[in-house]
């Protein structure tokens, strides 16, 4: 961060953003603790600390609930929430469009198609595939689908070493329609059970979080999250327009390439482990822009922190509101987030003249 600060004077908003960063970090630690200690069974963080302090063995079942259910779920929630929010912030910066979200680079449509293929045609997969991925066929297919469609779009939009974001946007719409049609064919041949699986997949959930999934998808998301802040200077420059950014000496093409790949990795992995969780990628960056300004040096990090906090809170609600059942998390993020977002837009209409 310090290196990227060079040449930018610190203003009021920077101070605000730093305060926000500290506040969000504290909030993340708190919500992570809450996520670990809250659940249907009586296991609490207190009892863990006690057992660690006294050297007493926890009951096998309590240990399982904590280490095999809540911990991977909490870590998955942090990474997925952060990935979605950061990917959204990067996309809005790259496309200089407040409506941009990771769906624009084709990740959503591709991952959705991958998931549908796995759910509907999974039974036809060759034996070696089933042996290799076990019951993780859906996440693997979703990740591959997301990546393939992003790389395809990138190739389509890149001509003689220059990527046109406008072409990418339009080609993305075309590819999305194509993926939608293919999905439609599969939906048509799907049986009732598969249709229900598809619907739930589209609403997202952290319910299936497990160590194997986290170990497979976590590093991809973590890598993207670490890489994203280095895009801050480039995205700030791009806000002036591509030509101006080029003239002030920014490696525009490299920024674009890294941004697109980062988004594809972060979103692809997030969607693969948790299904479709909408809303976070759009709203979290906007809320932060309204609160602390559009400077990507802070925005990217704060978006990651806020996205993680928001998703953990939403997950706490999904777990408890209709216990012993669980609500899909996409319902919670949209139901709580959208009205808040609208309210803020209405209150500060002057500030966001889109």
């Amino acid at each position: 961060m310090v290196a990227l600060d060079a040449g930018y004077p610190l203003g009021d908003r920077d101070a605000q953003a730093r305060v926000a960063m500290i506040a969000l970090s504290v909030a993340l630690v708190l919500t992570a603790g809450l996520s670990l200690s809250h659940g249907a069974s009586g296991v609490s963080l207190g009892s863990v600390i006690q057992s660690l302090a006294t050297g007493e063995q926890m009951a096998a079942r309590d240990r399982l609930i904590l280490w095999e259910i809540r911990l991977p779920r909490m870590l998955t929630g942090v990474l997925v929430g952060a990935s979605l929010a950061v990917a959204g912030a990067v996309m809005q910066g790259l496309f200089r469009n407040p409506l941009a979200d990771p769906g624009l680079v084709g990740v959503g449509a591709g991952a959705g198609l991958g998931a549908v293929v796995a759910i509907v045609l999974g039974g036809l997969a060759p034996v070696w595939v089933t042996q290799a991925v076990g019951y993780h066929l859906v996440p693997v297919a979703a990740f591959l689908g997301g990546w393939v469609s992003t790389l395809l779009l990138y190739r389509v939009a890149t001509r003689s070493g220059r990527t046109s974001v406008a072409t990418m946007l339009l080609a993305g719409i075309a590819l999305g329609a194509l993926a939608g049609a293919a999905t439609g064919v599969l939906v048509y041949i799907a049986d009732d059970r598969q249709l229900r699986d598809l619907t739930f997949w589209g609403l997202g959930s952290l319910g299936g979080a497990s160590w194997p999934k986290l170990l497979a998808a976590g590093p991809v998301m973590a890598l993207a999250l670490v890489a994203a802040p280095f895009l801050a200077r480039g995205l700030n420059g791009l806000a002036l327009g591509e030509a101006a950014a080029h003239h002030i000496g920014l490696p525009v093409q490299r920024v674009k390439a890294v941004a697109i790949l980062t988004v594809a990795a972060a979103t692809g992995a997030a969607v693969a482990v948790s299904g479709g969780i909408g809303f976070i990628g759009i709203v979290v960056p906007h809320l932060l822009r309204l609160a602390t300004g559009p400077d990507h040096r802070f925005l990217l990090i704060n978006a990651g922190l806020a996205g993680a906090v928001l998703l953990l809170l939403a997950d706490l609600i999904t777990r408890s509101i209709i216990a012993p059942a669980e609500l899909p998390i996409g319902i919670v993020t949209a139901t709580l987030g959208a009205p808040v977002f609208l309210w803020i837009l209405l209150r500060r209409r002057g500030m966001v003249d889109l």
Binding site: G39, A40, S41, G42, A60, R61, L64, I65, E68, I69, R70, G134, Y135, Y188, I189, D191, D192, R193, R196, D197, F200, S205, G207, G208, A209, S210, K213, R319, I322, A323, P324, A325, E326, P328
Partner: protein, 296 residues
């Protein structure tokens, strides 16, 4: 968790709970077996109740809707989206799971948490229904009750088969799952509706396609059903006879012209539980009436 809290809140609660438990145990029956059972799947709950062991259930999934008493139990959600911690927290000593209960991560965690879990066989034929009843009874420790119920179910199925064979003709039956904006979704081959129509001695009018599909008007006319079969439970899928026979394409079929519509409860008709034979007989009787009216 709830039980644990009672213990700590006060001795009075604990004492009362214990007393009620003791009373329930001593009056109910002498058999051994699990006492805190979760039914994950509509037919699981139905069989447990048919075995008269309904008081052992502590929770059910969303697809469990028969008998009505099951609706009073806590809902653990959709059977393929179960939450491991919430299930473990209920401290079940048996989970009766339909063959497709999931997700696999949850099933794996339940196994590792040593929650006893019995997966019931998939049922699409009468023989499977009997197997399902026996597995359920075995896991509840009421083998004899299971044999009795299996025998009763078998007797129902036999009577249905005899009645089906005795039909003078085999009417063409179209099962209409829903009407969405005037479009008919009907049951093709490989559906439980098709299996049920066959059990009752009818012929599935829609045979060119597999699964539940939207039909074009021409396909409906070509299918030429003598009888329309639909569900009569409340909610979106309840179809009114008048709406069905007023459908422009259905109205041109023999069934539409004579307003021959049979409506039955969805889980009863398609659930392939212990009432399968009974449902087949009821449908058979309805088909007999159609034939008697000269419409078969």
């Amino acid at each position: 968790m709830r039980r644990a809290r009672f213990m700590t809140v006060g001795g009075v609660h604990a004492g009362l709970t214990a007393l009620i438990l003791v009373l329930a145990v001593s009056t109910a029956r002498a058999e051994e077996g699990p006492r805190r059972v979760i039914a994950a799947g509509g037919s699981a709950a139905e069989i447990v109740f048919a075995l008269e062991q309904g008081d052992r259930l502590i929770a059910r999934d969303t697809t469990s809707s028969f008998p009505e008493a099951v609706l009073a139990l806590p809902d653990i959600g959709y059977v393929r989206r179960l939450s491991p911690e919430n299930l473990i927290a209920m401290e079940p000593d048996l989970i009766l799971a339909e063959h497709d209960a999931g997700p696999p991560e949850t099933i794996e965690l339940l196994t590792r948490a040593e929650v006893p879990l019995v997966t019931l066989p998939e049922a699409q034929t009468p023989a499977d229904v009997l197997a399902k009843i026996r597995v359920t009874a075995e896991s509840l420790g009421v083998r004899q009750a299971g044999e009795d119920l299996a025998a009763r179910t078998q007797a129902d199925l036999d009577r249905a088969a005899a009645a089906a064979a005795a039909l003078p003709s085999h009417p063409r039956v179209m099962f209409v799952l829903s009407m969405q904006g005037g479009r008919i979704m009907a049951a093709g081959t490989d559906t439980s509706a098709a299996a049920m129509i066959a059990l009752a001695g009818g012929v599935n009018a829609v045979d060119g396609i597999s699964g539940y599909k939207l039909l074009t008007d021409e396909a409906i006319i070509a299918a030429a059903p003598d009888v329309i079969l639909a569900m009569d439970r409340g909610g979106d899928l309840a179809l009114e006879v008048a709406d069905l026979v007023a459908h422009p394409a259905l109205a041109l079929t023999p069934a539409g012209e004579a307003a021959q519509v049979v409506r039955m409860d969805g889980l009863y008709l398609l659930g392939f539980g212990p009432r399968t034979g009974e449902a087949a007989l009821e449908l058979n009787t309805a088909l007999q009436a159609v034939i008697a009216a000269g419409r078969g």
